[in-house]
Symmetry: C2
DNA sequence: ATCTTTGCAAACTTTTTGCACCAAT
DNA sequence: ATTGGTGCAAAAAGTTTGCAAAGAT
């Protein structure tokens, strides 16, 4: 299923001088349809549903390529693999280190910190690149 | 050189029922003397300066052991290896994704965020476990 | 026709583990 | 004496790369 969202990304990719290959199409389709962020493995599995011949290495190369174009981002949620998602899907991740549960939080929660780091340290944070690790309500109670 | 800081940690380790082995002594000595956080490789190198026979796997097992006791923490600074440091060495890390420079910032900078996540989400953050990634003053200017 | 992208297999980096031996208490 | 720690070698987990063949424009 090629969504409007995905086809807009095809255009963006071409506008930036990239070639639109089946692998790239498939990765964009999967990421556009995803309701959660996906690890490289999950991404590969879903890409395989429609296009079984695409190689794991190609998926890795594709997400690097799409990241360079600013279309895709990845986030490190903890010790395991990174997760990938479209760059317009903006929110923070609160990852529970005990149960692994992930709660999403709006970007606004970091606005003050963002300003403060900028003012005090000249540092432009890219907060989406890492999850905020801690303990969720249930696990900090226990 | 066994510092006061290190020998206090020997005591803590024993008080918790751990065995004080040469490997553990060496790791505590190195971490107590370090002025920066160390990757497992760097830690191993420095451990080898005094005790060349200690195995890489032992260093890994030792930091896990010391983390379980709350004596050591590790932080993920970016894509590379984790860095280890004593748990009493509290500050955040602002890591520049362009030049790799690390700026340390006081824990107070996250106080508001900490409270907000607690109040709004019941989430107890453990902010030291991940660096704050972004661009330093120099690199965001460029 | 050209230049990029892909598949494959292999390397790489960081960390973990099974097992037999050794050491701290 | 007993329990737990260590060295070793090998595997695991996640990701990257060199190369020759195939594909997009």
């Amino acid at each position: 299923v090629v969504t409007t969202r995905a086809s807009a990304l095809y255009d963006e990719l071409r506008a930036r001088g990239g070639k639109l290959t089946p692998a790239r199409r498939a990765v964009l389709d999967v990421l556009s349809a995803a309701t959660t962020h996906l690890t490289a493995d999950q991404l590969l599995d879903r890409v395989h549903d429609a296009t079984p011949d695409i190689h794991r290495a190609t998926v890795y190369r594709t997400v690097v390529f799409l990241s360079d174009l600013g279309i895709v981002e990845h986030t490190h949620l903890g010790h395991g693999p990174a997760v990938y998602h479209l760059a317009d899907d903006l929110h923070h991740h609160l990852v529970c280190e005990v149960c692994g549960d992930i709660v999403e939080a709006p970007v606004a929660i970091l606005r003050n910190l963002d300003r403060r780091l900028k003012d005090d340290y000249g540092f432009e944070m890219r907060p989406l690149h890492f999850a905020i690790v801690g303990r969720c309500r249930r696990c900090s109670a226990g």
